[in-house]
């Protein structure tokens, strides 16, 4: 158990400049690979909290990571990032991509014992898309026939969702959409028990078809959630774990202390210093995994406001940023990334250079924009100071200071304006409110449409809640994005997105800078874990090989 005395001595040794080594990893039951065994509780934590476990409402990373334990989908991404059957044994794409027919498994039951059928799937989807449901992702499904009438309360059911048999469901779209299948992996498309009813209820206890289920008392908001094995799970022999416990609102240093003494089995929220300590300790190397680069970061340049309504100024910004310095802020989590499509997404072309650091080129762009700048005298450049909206205490507060330093070298002076997270979100999505701000995007599914449509399509612009924070309008790009939705051939689709990527790198509505990946450390007794290309915590085949049956206590939740 961590003691105050231990902490004090660590601190004093630290002040004296002594590098305090990490403790050795706790030994596993077997040093070598053995067959998976069933049992045990896997414990991890998050500095965040969960607002809702209803798949129709949950839309943040922490909640979604638990939602996938409780709710299975018709189809889901496999370990290689390919769509694979789950509740649907197979599916067909018909009528030129406007109809999707799913053949459901017949051996699936909900956690409450009721059978899973096509009618239940239709009810679940209608519930998730019902106008009274606070579903932030509902508009993703606007392509379903009858969506407007249904959400406008003109009709009681969604015409586009048809029950063709007890275990056959088809969904009709108004136009072909190659990106529709990935949408069926998202939480709102995961079926919920009949007890959920036809409309959203805030007090409904989460119940689905997933590998784990939530029992009464298993969730204390702001404290923990404990999900236990679903004995009726449709995949024979899985899951291996008896239970998974996730503790909330635990700051990174506390997580690390608890991990060191064996009270946590898996940690992802590390301080900068702790990532370095684990990364350079040889004894821990076999227990470290790095997740895929799902998030992209960049500097959003409002193309409707001066000076960024001038493409040459945007190009100057993109060329002036030395991205190597950005990665030093969180070396174990940030990588240089210079284009719009995340590296882990199909359609990403590693040969494409994207935007790159070129100080002389940036000065030339400033000259072409009509704002020549002489670095020797400091004369010239853009004459006004540009406000840069940022929230406190995050990565962006630090990278914002680097942006400020680096842009001053080409005559662009920015002033950091620190506002609360809520103000930052609200203002940066409002038209005409913010000239420049740091932005990030975590894609919901590994498809370029999941990034490019919300961030750069003109259809994503609206006056108050614009996910296109650069308010970028380009008819050519809009045309390409629309074409990509109707193109089902993977190679031709990749080529279209490659062209989009080139346009965005050149037009620079964002100066792309870095991508973020998770740095995870697990106890050696955590076996069968591998980072998933989409899901945050992939414990579907994880099992525990503890050396001892005595498990340190985590407090009242146990």
């Amino acid at each position: 158990m961590f003691s105050i005395r231990g902490a004090s001595s660590s601190f004093l040794l630290g002040l004296l400049g002594c590098d305090i080594a990490l403790p050795a990893p706790l030994p596993a039951g077997h040093p070598e690979e053995v067959a998976p065994r069933t049992g045990g509780t896997l414990r991890y934590a998050s500095f965040g909290d969960i607002r809702s476990l209803d798949p129709a409402r949950a839309n943040d990373g922490v909640a979604n990571s638990v939602v996938i334990f409780l709710f299975s989908a018709l189809i889901d991404f496999d370990q290689k990032g390919k769509l694979a059957p789950e509740l649907a044994e197979r599916w067909e794409v018909l009528d030129g991509g406007t109809r999707f027919r799913f053949f459901l498994r017949q051996d699936v039951r909900f956690h409450d014992g009721s059978p899973f059928t096509a009618a239940e799937m239709k009810r679940s989807l209608e519930r998730a898309l019902h106008p009274a449901t606070p579903n932030p992702s509902a508009s993703y499904y606007r392509n379903i026939v009858g969506y407007e009438l249904y959400t406008g309360k003109k009709v009681p059911h969604l015409d586009g969702i048809e029950v063709e048999g007890t275990h056959v469901l088809s969904i009709r779209l108004t136009a072909p959409d190659a990106a529709f299948l990935p949408l069926m992996t998202l939480p709102p498309a995961r079926p919920v028990c009949p007890s959920a009813g036809a409309t959203f209820r805030d007090d409904w206890p989460p119940c689905g078809t997933g590998p784990f289920q939530l029992r009464e008392g298993g969730w204390a908001k702001g404290q923990y959630v404990r999900v236990v094995r679903n004995p009726g799970y449709f995949v024979s022999g899985l899951p291996y774990l008896d239970a998974i416990e996730m503790h909330f609102l635990m700051n990174p240093p506390t997580q690390r202390f608890k991990f060191e003494v064996g009270e946590l089995d898996f940690v992802r929220d590390f301080t900068h210093a702790d990532t370095i300590r684990f990364a350079r300790d040889r004894r821990w190397q076999d227990s470290i995994t790095r997740g895929p680069d799902l998030d992209i970061y960049g500097e959003s340049l409002n193309t409707e406001m001066p000076p960024f309504d001038n493409v040459e100024v945007r190009r100057a910004v993109a060329a002036a940023l030395d991205r190597k310095a950005f990665t030093a802020v969180r070396p174990q989590n940030l990588s240089i990334h210079t284009s719009a499509i995340p590296a882990s997404t199909p359609g990403f072309d590693p040969a494409f250079k994207g935007q790159s650091f070129d100080l002389q080129g940036a000065l030339e762009h400033m000259r072409r924009a009509g704002f020549p700048y002489d670095p020797k005298t400091g004369q010239g450049g853009y004459p006004k100071t540009i406000p840069y909206l940022v929230y406190p205490l995050g990565i962006h507060e630090k990278t914002g200071q680097l942006v400020q330093q680096q842009l001053s070298r080409i005559g662009i002076r920015i002033e950091l304006r620190l506002v609360s997270w809520a103000t930052y979100l609200s203002l940066s999505q409002r038209q005409g409110a913010v000239t420049m701000s740091p932005q990030g995007w975590q894609q919901d599914f590994p498809d370029p449409s999941g990034v490019l449509d919300p961030l750069f399509s003109s259809t994503s612009i609206n006056a108050t809640e614009s996910s296109n924070s650069a308010f970028y309008r380009n008819p050519t790009l809009d045309g390409l994005l629309a074409r990509a939705h109707t193109e089902f051939d993977p190679q031709r689709r990749s080529a279209i997105y490659g062209e989009c990527n080139r346009i965005l790198a050149d037009d620079a509505p964002w100066a792309f800078t870095t991508s973020l990946h998770a740095f995870e450390v697990r106890q050696p007794h955590v076996r069968g874990y591998a980072p998933h290309p989409v899901h945050s915590f992939n414990f579907s085949r994880t099992w525990l090989d503890r050396a001892t049956t005595t498990v340190p206590s985590m407090g009242p939740s146990r």
């Binding site: 630290g14 301080t271 210093a273 620190l418």
Partner: protein
């Protein structure tokens, strides 16, 4: 008793003055003698192979910060800011608190004027019932953007309540002294009595209270910066530097130690000076 004699007799005042002098000197001279600019990152020279900022060395006497900037220059600049905010906010608070305290104390117990004392003191009671930092944070959130001026105003406007209480109590004892009664009997105007007879006699109390509050103001500014509601970066503030350093205390202890020592030394210094002044000005108190 002159200043030299006071310093000789009172060790508290001596040590406090010494600490304050060191901090003031460091803050004034530090940015000039620091080998690097406080705002410029230099990862080429200030980053180790382990991707950490360099520790104290000849080139970087206090090491470098997380963005590979000179800690010495940033600490000294942060000191200027802390001293400015601490002293100016205390001056605002002392002026407001002194004014309210004197008026309230002078009016207390008088037939018609007592309502003024009652109103002012109930206002002070209500103000004191709010936790100081919470009040400051709430005002800061309303302003949406924190600047030196807004921080000064916020700390000054919320920091006078305690001073008003102390000054009122002192005024209550002074106003009944013979020379004040005599001045009143001679028909002097209230403003003249307050200015010429009451104020000089409560000035010592006011000075002690103001000096003690400088440390509290500096601490409050540091707490606000630590919580992320202080001045915007890249302005160096000790609180923000403390926040940045807390995660790295094992690998880069100077990030935490430098601002922590600076805050402790400054707050301790001003508190000792305040205590010393109290001993000098009010030996019986």
């Amino acid at each position: 008793m002159n200043a030299h004699e006071a310093l000789r007799k009172h060790s508290t005042l001596r040590w406090g003055s010494f600490l304050v002098s060191i901090v003031v000197l460091f803050s004034l001279v530090g940015p000039w003698v620091a080998p690097h600019d406080a705002y410029t990152s230099n990862p080429d020279r200030a980053m180790t192979d382990a991707l950490l900022p360099v520790g104290p060395s000849i080139e970087y006497p206090l090491g470098a910060d997380r963005l590979f900037r000179d800690m010495l220059a940033r600490l000294a600049l942060g000191g200027r800011l802390s001293l400015l905010i601490g002293i100016a906010a205390s001056a605002i608070a002392a002026t407001l608190g002194g004014l309210v305290g004197i008026v309230s104390g002078y009016a207390a117990g008088k037939k018609r004027a007592a309502i003024l004392d009652w109103t002012l003191m109930r206002f002070v009671d209500v103000g004191l019932s709010f936790p100081f930092l919470l009040l400051v944070m709430a005002i800061g959130a309303l302003l949406d953007r924190t600047t030196v001026t807004s921080l000064l105003a916020t700390l000054g406007v919320t920091g006078w309540l305690g001073t008003a209480r102390v000054v009122r109590a002192k005024t209550l004892t002074v106003r009944d002294l013979d020379y004040v009664v005599a001045a009143r009997a001679l028909g002097q105007r209230h403003v003249t009595i307050l200015w010429k007879h009451i104020l000089p006699n409560v000035a010592g109390t006011l000075l002690v209270s103001a000096t003690l509050s400088i440390g509290q103001m500096i601490l409050a500014e540091s707490v606000l910066s630590y919580l992320g509601v202080g001045l915007s970066p890249p302005t160096p503030t000790w609180g923000a530097m403390l926040y940045e350093g807390q995660d790295s205390y094992i690998l880069a202890p100077w990030l935490l130690a430098c601002p922590a020592v600076a805050i402790v030394a400054t707050v301790l210094g001003f508190n000792l000076v305040g205590e010393g002044l109290r001993d000098v000005l009010d030996p019986r108190g």
